[in-house]
Symmetry: C2
Subunit: 404 residues, 2 copies
Amino acid sequence: MNLKSMYSKSTATMKSSLIRELVASTKGIKGLISFAGGFPSPQTFPVQDLAEIFNEVIDSDGCDILQYGASEGDNFLKTEIKKWEKKDYLADDEILIVDGATNGIYYFTQTLINPGDVILCEGPSFLDTLVAFEAAGAEVVPVSMDDEGINMAELDEVIAKLKAENKTIKFIYTIPDFQNPTGVTMSLQRRHDLIKTAIKHSILLLEDDPYSQLRYKGENIKSLYAIAREDYQNSQVVTAVKSFSKILGPGLRVAYVLADKELIQPMISWLQKVIVSPNCVAERAVAKYMRDDKLNPHIEKIQKFYAPYMEAMLNALEKYMPKEVKWPEIEGGIFIWLTCPEHINTDELFEKAKEMKISFIPGSKFYPTNHERFNSLRLNFSYPSIEQIDAGVKALGDLLKSMI
Amino acid sequence: MNLKSMYSKSTATMKSSLIRELVASTKGIKGLISFAGGFPSPQTFPVQDLAEIFNEVIDSDGCDILQYGASEGDNFLKTEIKKWEKKDYLADDEILIVDGATNGIYYFTQTLINPGDVILCEGPSFLDTLVAFEAAGAEVVPVSMDDEGINMAELDEVIAKLKAENKTIKFIYTIPDFQNPTGVTMSLQRRHDLIKTAIKHSILLLEDDPYSQLRYKGENIKSLYAIAREDYQNSQVVTAVKSFSKILGPGLRVAYVLADKELIQPMISWLQKVIVSPNCVAERAVAKYMRDDKLNPHIEKIQKFYAPYMEAMLNALEKYMPKEVKWPEIEGGIFIWLTCPEHINTDELFEKAKEMKISFIPGSKFYPTNHERFNSLRLNFSYPSIEQIDAGVKALGDLLKSMI
């Protein structure tokens, strides 16, 4: 049997994650300094607490949580999320617990996207999400960014152009806090502007928030979700996806979605078809972790843990990079984005750096198909040691100086 | 904003689980005897062992299993599955760990189905899967069953008819052991016949196996997957989905798929878009449970636990049902299917039984759209007590006698 000939059209044309392949290509290089990953540091996982809490919740609630659970997620966890979010307007049927942020984004996409519909995103943006959008048949159109987030003038132009072409724009995908891959945080003013534009054109906003708790300096900026509901007459234009992956550990697969109940309802219907119910054991464990008031102290601990890594990265860039290379001011997260002069091709830089046992992700991997740009790169600073950050950035800086 | 007007076509036309709604309609009836559910008994969950094992694996492997894991599933669990399956031909890249059987079936469906493609199934079959097939745009066509499984003469006719209409039949969905909803187990001869037909027509077989370990008498029958590989020149025509839900507890969300690597590969690509990686913590816990040689003794314990429930159900049916009502011989599982004379409508019977505080699922809920039949019903015997089984079947029998 020729199995490949039996694939569905979407499977036959599906892109895999280029990042995964790039990272795989450097595996096994001894002494590699890797700025390529996007994993949180395992040193930030509350291993002992979670070991005890899983034991306790299975011991006390095993007959309940080892059974099929409610498709919309564990009620105990919803209660804790509501307390933690401190939004008294948040109703139970506006929360959906999912198996990681990507899982929530998948149900949102299935709920809305017909083949040919347009999704707008920041350019660059998180590749794995863009690939999932394309697998759903969406046309993904990027809008460039500046230091305050998505470029509003360009967004207006793009919307006008797509509307003139009779295209249906369903939503704008954005990572407003410590964006992947740039590290940029959207300013408060830009958030207001974006919400106004979305409401004006009846385009939904999908706020992907894996990193907002990883702030090492400066002040928190109100989420798009909170701004829309609190400052724009309870507007439900924003759907937010929030994850515990970068706080407690991605292996738990626990995240949640805040949205209008008319979006949550069909997302639950998709969840029932994809996974029946989310993983009840991990959900109850996270609920107990929150109820025991462990979450906020743990977040403070993580922030203190990562702060020196960001400082080391910023110091090394300042010290070693040629003046032609630019990067944004960042105050948290795990990534920073370097922009080189136009003639530098970072796909080529990747190969040269690999020979020097240094790895990163070339910028071209963060754009939708046919929108690639080649003079930028993403550096991660949550995985390498502080010494590696200094040595690796020095070597990259020297390499770039030789090419400029 | 009119959110409903923004739904995708597949969302706007999606059916929800009628079973869920029916079960909800009887919630809160005090003293209800329910034959409606499909949940395993929480008394069969190895709560103490799992509480300890989760503690141990997080304590010892926390930094590993709380991190993102391999998309294809935990290698430790794969190793244990290979030992347990005792199939020396089984390669690592022929196994995919998923978050429950439904999750595996979803990736298989995404891999193969274009809108309009045909999926054949037993009629009746497990409604939630049929609804998921329809949401993927498939045309789902049922083939009737007899006491040995799917009706082969009718299957041949249906295939010939659909081929004449130039339709693409991608696969046949079957639950060969203790089928949901009928309780019927496919005979060995029928399994061979089905595989031969599938190979002849280049149609894949999807073997859904949640119940095969729940055998309380008689001998195990070789799985479709094993027959195809061992007796038909290593044929990969069968993809098997096996779940720990009915053995260790559905709340764990751990199941696995055995398939040709050309099917596993695209299923992994879908998994990466839907969920990134399956839940590593639960996977490692199941791996340790298996490595500690706890699985087989636990399965024996469950079999002994359920056997009296099946016996009570069969005895009560024999004692109380009018002779016009028929049911198959069953040797395990958690369901049995009653067929009444043609003029009995079990949707109406459901309402009458509800007044008597008895609940079950009417047969019409187990057929694809436009193929419903109305003179049958499903009874579950893993949830009610032995006393409730006797009393509930007596009352149902009396009710049916008054209608025949």
